[in-house]
């Protein structure tokens, strides 16, 4: 944390973390001992309240006080941690979350607040919890006596153990001296004989005559920490009621140290540094540029052929590669945090649909680039909703089939080579191949007499607008389909695969790159300009002799082993001058479920490169997802296949020409 971080920002971050912790604890309640869980919950709410009051979040502090009161009773064993209460805790957590994000009270918030407070009150056995004493504002001394000078006589018999508790009576006397003119008299009459003296006990007592315009409260404040064990007497000099001297101090009350020890199983928080994501992004960008400049340097060094230059350049190359790996490693985050969000989702949705579902997560410490993780949430939510809604059957259906009454969703992440495979598997009814088939025939996607493989049938669910759900439910089936999931995953340069067995369940695997900062690309050339195509999408390259072009009557179609594949001619699309070579190349790439070609002059080779995002001025360049700087300093664009196809498609529609209608060709081909 940087020293300039504002405590309020820190509080907001901290409160969010605590809220997440609260959710985890509540959702995991049946998993471990309840005592420690309740202690953790109490502490979390306590911190939200205490720090909230410190930093001006009074509404949050007030509200949290109610839930803290209830939890305190649970801690004392007075109240049980009922299901009703856990639901309330979750509701309160959500409410605090809402208050953190809404700076001003709203009607809806107030309503939620009243509802939760009333429900908590009912749990406590009274209609309404007493309004909390508002957090005491830091005191501003307003003493009636303040302002005019008074003479005070103070007798101070310190607690003999005063010094053992870290106080020094001299400091107290100094504090009195700070208030005004003091005459201090020490009395040694209580000092015992030498053999009875314990050196760290205080046997001396003092009388002080203090002339000050501070009031009685200011003087009592000096003794505030010692008044329990000591005898302190403060009298105004002109009104000493000798007879009725009031001893302010009382014998220290002995509170038994009760159940304050709780076994702590909680893991020690890792020592971490929080850094804003933009800082990391700019670091990654800088390293990217360093890598590129370094390759220019290597090229230049090779050009000079000097061995004196070559060896330090090699050393730099090694260091830069290591630096790049380290920097990219910083952005890697365990997927566990993303996973943990889903516990709540499964809990809420299964309750809503009256199903009993356990979520099992595996490989929570698998690391992925933060940018990938951030964009993985939505598709995963969609897939899990699908599992809960369509996959897992109702309790009755499950029992009928002889399955365990509780359904299971298994969410796992695992490294496979340079990819991470995230899979969502349920033990539900599996995909209904005949229903999908029937629907596909009905929509004309496959011929009635076709006999597609299971795999081909499963892939049909990725067709936009395809749903076999009989009814749109609250949970899913609202038109956002698997096609969106696939598009989102492909935008992350990943892929989706489905496996399913009727009656046994469905498993959807998402294969994702470890990082978005580096791309494996295929370098292609058109008219001496270099472009990069994402390697993951490339399936093959075929030759395109110039005579084949003309033979196809101007339509951009190429035959790949007997199958016709439409292609985009980059030269044509980008309006580049010059003539195509005698034998060009078509790079065949996967796009959704079909194949599309990209016609280029020459395929240069594979190229692993650091992606640079395009500057502000180039934001309108939609066909490129980024750029990279080549070893010789030239810039080449990284083409985004999906957007390239859309661009070509729009281009041909506006030009009223059918020559490059790729998407039409795609549809008729698919």
């Amino acid at each position: 944390m940087s020293p300039e971080t504002n405590p309020v920002d820190t509080y907001l971050l901290e409160a969010e973390d605590l809220l997440e912790q609260i959710e985890q604890i509540v959702l995991g309640l049946h998993e471990h001992g309840d005592t420690e869980a309740v202690n953790q919950l109490f502490r979390a709410f306590h911190t939200i309240k205490g720090s909230g009051a410190m930093f001006g979040f009074d509404r949050i502090a007030d509200f949290t006080h109610h839930i803290e009161t209830v939890l305190d009773r649970v801690r004392d064993g007075v109240l049980p941690l009922s299901r009703e209460l856990t639901e309330l805790i979750l509701a309160a957590r959500d409410h605090i979350h809402a208050m953190l994000s809404a700076p001003h009270p709203t009607g809806a918030l107030d309503e939620a607040r009243e509802r939760i407070i009333a429900a908590l009150g009912t749990l406590l056995g009274r209609p309404e919890i007493n309004e909390p004493t508002p957090p005491p504002r830091p005191p501003h001394h307003q003493d009636p006596k303040a302002g005019r000078s008074t003479i005070w006589l103070i007798r101070f018999h310190p607690d003999p153990d005063l010094m053992v508790n870290g106080t020094n009576p001299v400091w107290l006397l100094d504090a009195l001296r700070a208030l005004g003119a003091c005459e201090v008299t020490g009395h040694a009459d209580l000092v015992p004989s030498l053999e009875d003296i314990q050196p760290d006990r205080c046997y001396i007592w003092w009388e002080v005559r203090l002339e000050t315009d501070a009031g009685r409260d200011a003087i009592r404040d000096v003794f505030i920490f010692v008044e329990d064990g000591s005898q302190i007497q403060i009298d105004e000099a002109d009104e000493i009621p000798l007879a009725a001297r009031q001893v302010l101090g009382e014998v220290r009350s002995n509170t038994a140290p009760e159940n304050r020890q709780a076994t702590h199983k909680q893991q020690v928080a890792d020592s971490t540094v929080r850094v804003p994501a933009e800082k990391l992004d700019s670091l990654v960008n800088l390293v990217g540029e360093l890598v590129m400049n370094q390759s220019r340097l290597t090229q230049a060094a090779a050009h000079f052929g000097s061995s004196e230059l070559a060896s330090p350049v090699e050393e730099i190359e090694r260091l830069v590669a290591e630096l790049r790996d380290n920097v990219l490693g910083i952005r890697m985050m365990p997927i566990g945090r993303t996973f943990s969000r889903f516990k709540r989702l499964v809990h809420d949705l299964s309750a809503e649909l009256n199903k009993e579902i356990d979520l099992i997560t595996e490989g929570a410490d698998t690391e992925l680039d933060k940018t990938v993780l951030d964009q993985l949430g939505d598709p995963l939510v969609h897939l899990i909703r699908n599992c809960i809604d369509h996959g897992i059957e109702t309790r009755e259906d499950r029992e009928h089939c002889g399955k365990p009454a509780r359904g299971t969703i298994r969410l796992s992440a695992l490294h496979v080579g340079s990819n991470v495979v995230v899979s969502i598997a349920d033990d539900g009814r599996g995909l209904d191949t005949s229903a999908i088939r029937a629907k596909a025939v009905e929509r004309g996607l496959i011929a009635p007499d076709a006999s597609p493989s299971d795999r081909e049938i499963f892939n049909l669910v990725f067709v936009p607008g395809f749903s076999t759900a009989r009814a749109v439910t609250e949970v899913s089936g609202r038109g956002v389909g698997m096609d969106v999931v696939r598009r989102q995953i492909e935008a992350l340069r990943g892929s989706v695969a489905i496996e399913s067995q009727p009656g046994r369940g469905t498993k959807i695997s998402l294969t994702l790159p470890l990082t978005l900062a580096i791309i494996d690309g295929l370098l292609v050339e058109v008219e001496r300009e270099l472009f990069i195509l994402p390697m993951v999408l490339v399936t093959e390259n075929v030759e395109l002799p110039i005579r084949t072009r003309s033979r196809n009557n101007g339509r951009n179609i190429v035959a790949v082993r007997g199958e016709l594949v439409p292609y985009i001619d980059l030269r044509e699309l980008f309006g580049m001058s010059g003539r195509p070579p005698e034998i060009g190349k078509v790079v065949i790439v996967r796009h959704e479920d079909t194949r599309v070609g990209v016609a280029v002059d020459r395929v240069v080779g594979t190229h692993q490169t650091v992606i640079q995002s395009l500057g502000r001025l180039y934001r309108s360049v939609e066909v490129a997802s980024g750029a990279t700087i080549m070893g010789d300093g030239t810039v080449s664009l990284i083409l985004d296949i999906t957007r390239l196809i859309h661009f070509a498609d729009r281009r041909c529609r506006t030009q009223e020409t059918r020559r490059c209608c790729v998407s039409e060709a795609v549809v008729s081909d698919g």
Binding site: T47, N165, T255, R260, H264
Partner: protein, 121 residues
């Protein structure tokens, strides 16, 4: 050499605020996220004052105070506990464990500095 004060609190925002306030007043501050870390760091870093929260995971404030008081080098260390209005019982436990004083949340930065000045010479 400026005096060193340790703040033990599981709340990052409280630590931030305390550290910032005390550093402004010229003290060195050592942070600990709970009682356990506080004890560990107290062995290696000599401090002149300890400001501790009472509710902390692993080793809580009361246990921390007891343990610190049992360390010979910290027998007379000023120990301030952070409490809230609703924690009277805990405050008493803290005093019994050997705390020198307390400060009630919410408090202002000046109050904290005044406290440090009172206990550190």
């Amino acid at each position: 050499m400026p005096a060193t004060i340790m703040t033990a609190d599981d709340s990052a925002s409280m630590r931030r605020m305390i550290t910032f306030t005390l550093q402004q007043a010229g003290y060195d501050v050592v942070e600990a996220i709970d009682g356990k870390e506080a004890l560990k760091r107290l062995y290696s870093t000599p401090v002149q004052m300890l400001i501790t929260d009472l509710n902390m995971p692993n080793v809580d404030g009361i246990e921390l105070i007891e343990c610190v008081r049992a360390m010979p080098q910290y027998k007379y260390l000023p120990i301030i506990m952070l409490t809230t209005e609703s924690e009277e019982a805990r405050k008493q436990q803290g005093r019994a464990a050997g705390a020198s004083g307390w400060i009630i949340k919410p408090f202002r930065g000046e109050q904290l500095v005044a406290l440090a000045k009172r206990f550190i010479r």
